[in-house]
């Protein structure tokens, strides 16, 4: 296949055009719109498959990439040059992601034709789905952080719309705002990171960023509030904040559980193929930056805390979707932990395997919920305490869900065993090297024990035992095999098997001796950390000649770092083996504990909740994060501050300082009026009149025309003169 913009862009543009077209026709031609949406994701799926085959089966070496750009807009004038370039960046990692996104999204589309069929806004749902997948595909194909940010925000918008899909519910409004705003906290940091990198490097394409890191040009400090921080640390932190927001990591995990207010297929899309995957994908792309910035330890901690913390909360959830939501957060924690410990490849692999089984789990949950209709309240039932024994009614759903649960639990032969345990293995390796990593590794292992427990708790409560709500159970319809309800589930379930992802069925190299070919692990060979030194020689014009390389035999451990010696390799291998054996034991004991509690009833769950009531309360309240953010930070902090400022602005500043001028002016003009009336008018003006009248009287008296009087005055003057007075006039 010839790779150029015109052959690759349709992957993004088809769903986007479907969105544009459907948003106009959806009201009148709902069925056509739905068909268009489904086709518009199916065709990209074929494309993606083609690219995937090209990239993976033709065995392009891990550092092969295709980079095509075009100018979006250009601000250059005269000597100032500034261009914004957009483009596509296609390497093995994007090829894998593309296949996952299109494949999972297509199956979700298909399932939605069943799930949403009776919804009054059936068509509109597909409009959002198309935009959502288009944005995710755009993100995967982006060659630079700026366009990643654009698609990233578009996904934020889509999640906002989908979570608020049932806008009649008050809660949907709250949940959608929460999702949008919480992720936007991260997004704002992300934008800051982009701006910082762009200003420093002059571009934000991956290629240029890698090049700058390789050339060590990101060490100059950024001065912030008087502190100097190296730019790589600053930008890396900001970009990782984006991941924290989008991938629901501690401490911004609060939005994800609320996202289940949306229709269930949209939860599948958000939790599996798109939104949350985007955050991890971004961090993987920016792994060299985080590494250069020295942020990996912190990332490992965030991942470990999230993986363990979310798993504990999942223990007490009773809503089937809530369990899945917390398991998503926990699994994302593992991916981030993987990034933190340098398990680049395993982290991506876990992203893919998780996308498959989590999509399947959510769709299965949707299938369960749809079959349980409460005839009293006319709502679908999501509460597990009202379920039970459903495996007889929903055999296909049960089968699919069982596969996925086994996968997420890390049972050998299933996908997450390969991916998650490689992350844990690398965490253990790092823990033996540096004690800093000890806590994340332990948290990861503890989470690995909780995961099978809460997942099987969910399975047992839903599908096993006796129906706890007989009326509900009686009305549940028997599941029949239908192409848009069960087939997507079963297809996804098939892909939860481990061998799709790893040549060795067991992963971890345990079975090396049994399966000698197990070193040929396509995933581990084809996806590797960007080798920075290869980017330094490259000019900005991309390299277009494919470099076909045969599969190189290589260890699954970090190829860049390499091994110092045979012993080291052996030691790493050893730790991985031990880790794998440990996690098999951990997984099985978790399942066993769940069995004891919920099937054989050896231990009563009630005993635990009453004995540790305070802990249970803390877990039920999600460690009070929501309470702290909403009630304390927003209600008590932000809103009070707003009201206070608004009062200062209008009640104080405007009223007194601005309108106060009228008082000052009033004072001025009353003073000037007084001056005018009293001084000028009464004294000066009227005074003149009065004095004129006064002199008038005087002069009239004097100048009275009587000659005798004049004579008298003359005599008096003369007499005065004689007596020695000087004349007045």
């Amino acid at each position: 296949m010839e790779y150029s913009l015109s052959t690759i862009l349709p992957i993004v543009l088809l769903p986007f055009f479907a969105f544009v077209l459907n948003s106009f026709i959806v009201k009148k031609f709902t069925k056509t719109a739905v068909t268009i949406s489904c086709l518009a994701i199916f065709v990209p799926f074929i494309y993606a498959l083609r690219i995937f085959i090209d990239f993976v089966f033709n065995k392009y070496s891990a550092d092969y990439y295709i980079h095509k750009t075009f100018t979006w807009f250009d601000l250059s004038s005269g000597s100032q040059i500034f261009k914004v370039q957009m483009g596509i960046y296609l390497d093995n990692m994007s090829a894998v992601m593309l296949l996952m996104v299109t494949g999972v999204a297509f199956l979700i589309h298909l399932f939605s034709t069943y799930y949403m069929h009776d919804d009054p806004r059936y068509g509109r749902f597909f409009v959002y789905l198309s935009l959502f997948t288009s944005a995710m595909l755009g993100l995967v194909l982006s060659d630079n952080l700026f366009s990643v940010f654009i698609f990233w925000e578009l996904m934020g918008f889509c999640s906002y719309s989908l979570i608020g899909f049932y806008y009649e519910k008050e809660g949907a409004g709250n949940a959608s705002i929460k999702a949008f705003m919480t992720t936007r906290v991260g997004d704002v940091f992300f934008l800051l990171g982009i701006v910082a990198l762009w200003t420093t490097i002059g571009s934000v394409t991956y290629v240029d960023i890698y090049k700058a890191i390789a050339e060590n040009s990101l060490n100059s400090p950024v001065f912030l509030f008087g502190l100097g921080i190296p730019i790589a640390t600053f930008a890396g932190f900001c970009i990782f904040m984006g991941t924290i927001g989008k991938s629901a990591q501690f401490p911004l995990q609060v939005w994800l559980p609320d996202a289940m207010f949306g229709p269930t297929p949209c939860s599948a899309l958000i939790h599996a193929a798109t939104m949350v995957a985007a955050g991890v994908y971004l961090s993987l792309r920016m792994y060299p930056l985080m590494d250069a910035g020295g942020l990996l330890e912190a990332i490992a901690y965030i991942g470990g805390i999230t993986a363990f913390g979310a798993a504990t909360i999942a223990l007490v959830q009773t809503d089937i979707k809530a369990v899945l939501a917390y398991s998503t957060i926990s699994q994302l924690g593992y991916m981030v932990l993987g990034i933190g410990v340098g398990a680049y490849n395993a982290s991506l692999m876990h992203l893919i395997t998780h996308a498959v089984f989590k999509a399947c789990l959510f769709l299965s949950a949707g299938s369960v919920i749809h079959s349980l209709h409460d005839h009293h309240t006319h709502t679908a039932v999501q509460e597990m305490p009202r379920m039970g024994g459903l495996r007889k009614k929903l055999p296909y759903t049960f089968l699919a869900m069982l596969f996925c649960t086994l996968a997420i639990s890390g049972v050998p032969l299933f996908s997450a065993f390969v991916s998650k345990d490689r992350i844990l293995g690398d965490a253990l390796v790092m823990a033996t090297r540096s004690s800093v990593y000890l806590i994340p590794a332990i948290l990861g292992l503890c989470g690995a024990f909780l995961t099978p427990f809460y997942m099987f708790r969910m399975m047992f409560l839903t599908f096993f035992g006796e129906p706890r709500d007989a009326d509900l159970f009686k009305h549940a319809h028997h599941e029949t095999l239908s192409f848009n309800r069960n087939i997507p589930l079963l297809i996804l379930a098939v892909f939860t098997l481990g061998f799709w992802y790893s040549g060795s069925l067991t992963g971890q190299g345990i079975g090396d001796k049994v399966f000698p070919d197990s070193k040929y692990e396509w995933f581990q060979v084809l996806v590797e950390k960007p080798v920075l030194s290869k980017f330094t020689s490259r000019t900005t014009t991309p390299l277009d000649v494919p470099e076909r390389k045969e599969f190189i035999e290589s260890s699954h451990y970090d190829p860049e770092r390499g091994f110092a010696s045979e012993e080291e390799e052996h030691e790493v291998h050893h730790i991985h083996q031990m880790g794998a054996i440990a996690s098999i034991i951990i997984a099985l004991s978790g399942i066993f504990l769940a069995y004891c509690m919920y099937i054989s009833k050896k231990f009563s769950p009630a005993w635990w909740t009453t004995t540790f009531s305070r802990w249970t309360a803390a877990l039920r309240n999600r460690y009070y994060f929501d309470h702290f953010y909403v009630d304390v930070l927003i209600q008590k902090g932000l809103l009070q501050l707003n009201n206070f400022l608004a009062w200062i602005d209008m009640g104080l500043y405007d009223r007194y300082a601005v309108d106060g001028w009228s008082k000052v002016l009033t004072l001025f003009y009353s003073m000037s009026r007084w001056f005018d009336n009293i001084v000028v008018d009464s004294i000066l003006v009227d005074g003149t009149g009065i004095s004129v009248r006064f002199f008038n009287i005087v002069l009239r008296t004097i100048q009275n025309g009587k000659i005798q009087f004049y004579f008298l005055v003359l005599l008096l003057v003369l007499a005065g003169y004689v007596l020695g007075f000087k004349p007045v006039i």
């Binding site: 250009d74 004038s77 925000e153 949907a172 705003m181 940091f189 800051l192 707003n642």
Partner: protein
């Protein structure tokens, strides 16, 4: 077509003469006539865009008009257009045309309303085209008269207070500008170029001193401060912003749209055309301060907006916040920053106009604008269910206003951030908080009005009618088009902005 600027400027004025000939009772004739006049004007601005040569930095000789007006004082009637004023002229043409449509429901003294509206249009065009400082000042002042009456007569309950406040505040600013204008006239030698904005530019007054109150001051800085305050009141920049919420709340819908969409841009246009290029040293000297003021605008405006319960007041404060971004971009004086600022002026013009028009549409049905009434009950609720088309248009306006990528506001904000980061790193970090709160207050307003159960009060509202859809559609197209493909706007402005930036760079 050399006199295209004349035609654009005087067509609305001729339209007033036309209105005077129409009997006051034939309302529809007056409306259609005004619509016709503004439509013709708008088409001429598009024609201007088509004939505009974007490669020329500075004024386009082809369109320039200049002849003596008051020869004794070297005052010329001189018009021109460049890449900075053209986006504003286009915006003015578009918004006035749409506002006539939205004013269709005005029934109180129709004749004088439309006459004043056209007068406002002519004066706004004059401000954006004038190349003679005196002429600029005349249009700047003339603009106040129709605004005063439009708010004072057709406004809400407290209209007289708002109108007087608006008038006095702006007038106080213009007096400072007038002083500067006269000072410049004498300092520059009372010759033929003393009122010529272009001839005054280039930093000729940086070294001059002026004696005031018995001390020597730098002439450039003193006059710059005066003019800064004059323009800052118009923008409005904190702490000169409090007239804006009053004026917006009281003004009728169309006047709010013009006020937020066009008149605020006159302030920032004043910086770009007059204050910065004439006093580049002073602008560079004060750039740190201007940036901090811009930052205060961004955050303070956003925080105040979040506390408002009146939709129009909320959007008025959001304008304060968004104009803060423009000031940040201007203060940076970099290619990205200033291009972003001019683009933001245009984009804010479209997005905030959409918001005000949407408020107006709702107001015509509800006759109130309370998100939450003073007694704590919800003013609306469940509008999403009740008014589907309205809700979708509202969502587009809201996300355009908060700068969602793919809609126009994003590109300008991103460019501004890129432009300011190097010079003002700390300010960039803080300004991003404004971006966060900017989303919060809009989404919160949306949630309280549109989600949840249908409020019994809104059941009788009917959805947007054809006329309303017709005047919202061009704006929707504009925010989407310029969000996806901003090149038409940026190509138009980049040469002129580039020459301004290189002028400023000489003094940095």
């Amino acid at each position: 077509m050399q006199h295209l600027l004349d035609w654009i400027l005087w067509t609305p004025a001729l339209g007033i003469l036309g209105i005077l000939l129409i009997p006051g009772k034939s309302h529809n004739v007056i409306r259609f006539w005004s619509l016709f006049v503004t439509a013709v004007t708008f088409l001429m601005t598009i024609l201007l865009y088509c004939q505009f040569d974007p490669s020329i930095p500075g004024m386009q000789e082809y369109f320039s008009v200049k002849f003596p007006w008051i020869e004794q004082f070297h005052i010329y009637y001189s018009l021109g257009v460049d890449g900075i004023s053209l986006p504003m002229i286009l915006l003015t043409g578009l918004l006035f045309f749409l506002c006539i449509l939205s004013s269709w429901t005005i029934t109180k003294s129709v004749k004088s309303y439309f006459a004043l509206f056209l007068m406002l249009e002519a004066s706004v065009f004059g401000v954006f085209m004038a190349l003679d400082f005196f002429l600029f000042y005349v249009f700047w002042e003339v603009m106040l008269i129709p605004m005063f009456f439009l708010i004072g007569i057709w406004g809400g309950e407290n209209r007289e207070y708002a109108a007087v406040k608006f008038f006095l505040y702006t007038f106080a600013g213009s007096v400072l500008m007038l002083v500067g204008l006269i000072a410049l006239y004498f300092v520059s030698g009372e010759n033929a170029d003393s009122f010529n904005i272009l001839a005054l530019q280039g930093g000729k007054f940086g070294a001059m001193t002026i004696k005031l109150f018995g001390a020597d001051w730098n002439f450039g800085k003193i006059v710059f401060i005066g003019m800064f305050i004059g323009f800052a009141i118009k923008v409005p920049i904190f702490p000169f912003h409090t007239w804006l919420p009053h004026a917006h709340v009281q003004a009728p819908t169309a006047v709010s749209v013009i006020l937020a969409g066009v008149l605020l841009k006159m302030g920032t246009y004043g910086f770009l055309r007059i204050a910065f290029p004439i006093f580049p040293e002073a602008a560079v000297y004060f750039s740190q301060g201007i940036a901090w003021l811009g930052l205060i605008n961004v955050i303070y405006g956003a925080l105040c907006a979040m506390a408002q319960n009146d939709m129009k007041k909320l959007i008025a404060y959001s304008s304060v916040s968004h104009m803060g971004f423009v000031m940040l971009g201007l203060a940076a004086m970099t290619t990205q920053g200033v291009n972003g600022a001019v683009l933001q002026m245009f984009n804010h013009g479209t997005s905030t106009s959409m918001m005000f028009l949407m408020v107006g549409v709702l107001y015509e049905r509800s006759h109130h604008r309370w998100i939450v009434r003073p007694d704590g009950t919800k003013g609306f609720g469940g509008l999403y269910t009740q008014l589907p088309i309205y809700s979708i248009v509202f969502i587009i306006s809201m996300f355009a206003s908060m700068g969602l990528p793919g809609l126009s506001g994003f590109i300008s904000e991103a460019l501004i951030f890129l432009g300011i980061y190097k010079t003002f790193t700390t300010i960039t970090v803080l300004a991003l908080v404004g971006l966060l709160i900017g989303a919060a207050y809009l989404l919160w307003m949306f949630k309280r009005m549109f989600f949840g159960d249908v409020n019994p009060a809104v059941v009788e509202y009917h959805d947007m009618n054809a006329r309303e859809i017709f005047y919202m559609a061009p704006l929707c197209v504009a925010v989407v088009l310029f969000g996806v493909y901003p090149s038409p706007l940026l190509n138009m402005m980049k040469a002129s902005v580039g020459s301004l930036v290189s002028l400023m760079a000489k003094f940095q």
